[in-house]
């Protein structure tokens, strides 16, 4: 017979990653379900993905650009700079909050069927990605409006999308695992998201941070993600601070590794805890 499965306590399944590949169909289907359900009973559907970042952008432009009179990146229009930061930020925050609530939301699946649990939080990030694509459309529209042409740097954009994905899934997995055990963590996420919006350079350029603090500031992985996005979109107007980018990337990768590790550790007992 083709496949022999051995079930033993504490067995670190050697074929976990192979299983993950085998269950990729489930990943597509769950992602598709989340997207379908999200837009099924909403009146304006995808418009939500437009309205939220757009209004935040307007507010930030007024508060940081007009009232506080913070400088933009080079000669780039302030709203454009804010929106280029808003995109990865919204992707990150929706991804993080959806992923961390995903296991609890799919409790009935967890307790009744086996599949690599990693699929559930990762599939929800796809929903955030769909929202991201929709609001990316507005960015394009705004660039047309401001007659702003991106430089050659724009080809690196997909790499930074992956970076944003890693930055959200790492902490997402960790918090998901904790959330199953201790439900207190569902209160932590909205706080992190709200707090992070002001700590990360969303409404302002990271160039306003004093030079000696920039490396330290880059410990926040979102700093790297947002700077990278601005560099790609605004072209030469936003200079890339390479040491900071490296630090941010390292932190994001560390969190990914840490998140997966914690997740795998608690995974076996999810069905008993949930």
């Amino acid at each position: 017979m083709s496949n022999v499965i051995v079930i033993e306590p504490g067995r670190q399944e050697l074929n976990y990653w192979r299983d993950l590949w085998r269950y990729r169909e489930l990943f597509y289907v769950l992602a598709w379900r989340d997207v379908a359900v999200r837009y099924k009973q909403t009146v304006i559907g995808a418009a939500w993905a437009v309205i939220r970042p757009f209004l935040t952008m307007v507010v930030f432009t007024v508060v940081f650009g007009r009232i506080a009179k913070l400088p933009s990146d080079g000669s780039a229009p302030y709203p454009l700079m804010v929106f280029a930061g808003m995109l990865p930020w919204t992707f990150f925050s929706t991804g993080l909050s959806e992923a961390s609530a995903s296991l609890i939301g799919n409790a009935n699946l967890i307790s009744k069927v086996y599949f690599p649990r990693l699929i559930v939080p990762t599939a929800t990030v796809v929903v955030a990605f769909v929202d991201f694509l929709v609001s990316f459309g507005i960015l394009v529209g705004m660039m047309v409006w401001y007659r702003f042409l991106p430089g050659w740097q724009v080809v690196f954009l997909p790499a930074f999308v992956v970076f944003a994905f890693i930055a959200s899934i790492g902490p997402g997995l960790w918090v998901t695992a904790l959330n199953v055990k201790y439900r207190d963590f569902r209160y932590v996420i909205p706080f992190i998201v709200q707090f992070g919006l002001y700590v990360s350079p969303v409404g302002f350029s990271s160039h306003v941070v004093p030079a000696q603090w920039r490396l330290l500031y880059s410990l926040n992985p979102l700093v790297g993600v947002i700077d990278g996005f601005r560099w790609c979109v605004l072209g030469g107007q936003s200079k890339l601070y390479l040491p900071g980018l490296a630090v941010s990337a390292a932190v994001a990768v560390f969190f990914l590794w840490f998140g997966i590790r914690r997740f795998r550790k608690t995974e076996a007992s999810f069905a008993d805890l949930i």
């Binding site: 079930i7 033993e8 379900r33 009744k112």
Partner: protein
């Protein structure tokens, strides 16, 4: 002989359960100091557990509970194995381990082949999605590829009989349609090992028959291995070749289905208790009202119940909030499945009762003579308010044996408990002596009597 498809070796599963420590004496009031002390100790313990990454358990005292204890067995290819036992015997835990949902604490399971588990009908169905979408969703969850589902799509739809509603969200489906669709997807899985938990307890009788046929076909024609957990002994004996009896996590008996079911029924009838607690039983999902909960059933008359003898049963229940027009029901199901006898209070407001304040109450059922023939039965207990509002319902929760009474004819007594002897009623018969030749007259007893009277005169 080929290696067994499933081999389970010394399998154990432990759960940790928390308890509130009992306080001695009268505990009607608690000092704030005690509460604070206890909460502080708990908080420290929980914090320590969090740091060490252990499971956090609510309560003061942590107790180990072995849901499965040192269970070993093997299943050969193409075998249909029934798993029986009372509630809490570890059946579901066993299925969960076999389907890799939860890890065992000790022991080892070797599975040779793809496993599909059906622990619930319609796992992952999303109410907002249409029937068509849910077929794909559910299929993927159960481990089918999209190509596989597409190939079987028409078959699934035909089996479920929902062609017309394919593009309707399933939240608008009747519960029957919902169950049919869910089972149809599961029935078209093609795993080497199928693990099923009592899903057949739902759906109408005709559909149940269809499901049984499908399962039989799966094992017989395709040589697949099936594991079924069921409380329905008739189903186990008719569907399974072998059976396994679990009792409080330990394997009591393994062998042919007839043998194990026989032993199980004999045992559960022997160990009948006068007071059976019902408050900890699982309620079906359609019980939504929690104003009234049945706490226990007490047999006031002696056990075992004897055919033809009077019986007195008492239902203890707790009223949590005012509820009016309450009626109670006790139903007897034959071990083959269907309800055979119901004692109810319907048809008249007289016997119903209003409860204005919370508290513990009881209601008695007096039966002049047990009309059920000697056999094994299971019980349903229910409470209603008015004619439609269901308050509480507990289904199939205990095995009950009715034995032959002094008046029961010998051949009936011998037929039981292997065959159902039905409901045996004493009708009101009367003997008439014809004092001459029987005249053929127009039908009806009145005419017959008149004819007799005429002849006598």
């Amino acid at each position: 002989m080929p290696p067994p498809v499933i081999s389970v070796e010394r399998l154990s599963k432990r759960y940790l359960v928390g308890h509130r420590a009992e306080r001695g004496g009268s505990s009607t009031y608690t000092a704030l100091r005690d509460v604070m002390g206890r909460e502080l100790r708990n908080a420290v313990r929980k914090a320590a557990d969090v740091v060490r990454g252990r499971q956090v358990v609510q309560g003061d005292a942590v107790e180990e509970f072995w849901a499965l204890n040192d269970v070993s067995f093997e299943v050969q290819e193409g075998e249909v194995l029934g798993i029986i036992g009372r509630n809490g015997a570890g059946k579901s835990t066993l299925l969960k381990i076999l389907s890799r949902i939860t890890e065992p604490t000790a022991g080892r399971v070797t599975l040779r082949g793809r496993v599909a588990s059906l622990l619930e009908v319609g796992t992952g169905f999303h109410p907002e999605l249409t029937g068509r979408e849910n077929i794909y969703l559910n299929g993927a969850i159960l481990g089918m590829s999209r190509a596989e589902i597409r190939k079987k799509f028409d078959e699934i739809v035909a089996f479920a009989e929902v062609e017309k509603f394919l593009d309707t969200p399933v939240k608008r489906y009747s519960s029957g349609m919902y169950v049919r669709l869910a089972f149809a997807v599961a029935a078209h899985l093609e795993p080497e090992i199928l693990v099923v938990d009592e899903v057949l307890a739902v759906g109408d009788a005709e559909f149940q028959k269809k499901c049984l046929g499908k399962m039989d076909e799966v094992s017989r024609r395709d040589g697949r291995t099936v594991l079924v957990v069921s409380h329905n002994m008739g189903l186990v004996t008719s569907l399974c070749r072998g059976a396994l009896w679990l009792d409080r996590g330990v394997m009591r008996e393994q062998g042919t289905a007839e043998h194990v079911v026989g032993r199980y029924l004999a045992r559960s009838a022997q160990g009948q208790e006068h007071l059976i607690r019902l408050d900890d039983r699982e309620r079906p999902s359609f019980v939504r009202d929690d104003r009234l909960r049945c706490v226990a059933l007490e047999w006031v008359s002696s056990l075992p119940l004897r055919h033809g003898e009077p019986v007195k049963a008492r239902l203890h229940f707790k009223v949590r909030a005012p509820v009016s027009d309450v009626s109670a029901m006790i139903g007897f199901n034959s071990i083959e499945g269907p309800r055979v006898l119901t004692y109810h209070m319907d048809g008249g407001k007289a016997s119903r009762h209003d409860f204005g304040c919370p508290g513990e109450y009881s209601v008695d059922l007096d039966i002049d003579a047990m009309i059920l023939g000697p056999h094994h039965y299971s019980l349903d207990v229910g409470f209603r308010s008015g004619n439609i509002h269901l308050l509480d319902f507990i289904r199939d929760w205990t095995q009950l044996e009715v034995v032959a009474g002094p008046e029961t004819p010998a051949e009936i007594a011998h037929a039981a408990p292997h065959a159902s002897t039905g409901v045996r009623l004493v009708g009101s018969w009367s003997w008439e002596e014809p004092s001459g030749e029987l005249e053929v007259v127009a039908s009806g007893p009145q005419n017959l009597r008149e004819a007799g009277a005429r002849r006598r005169a």
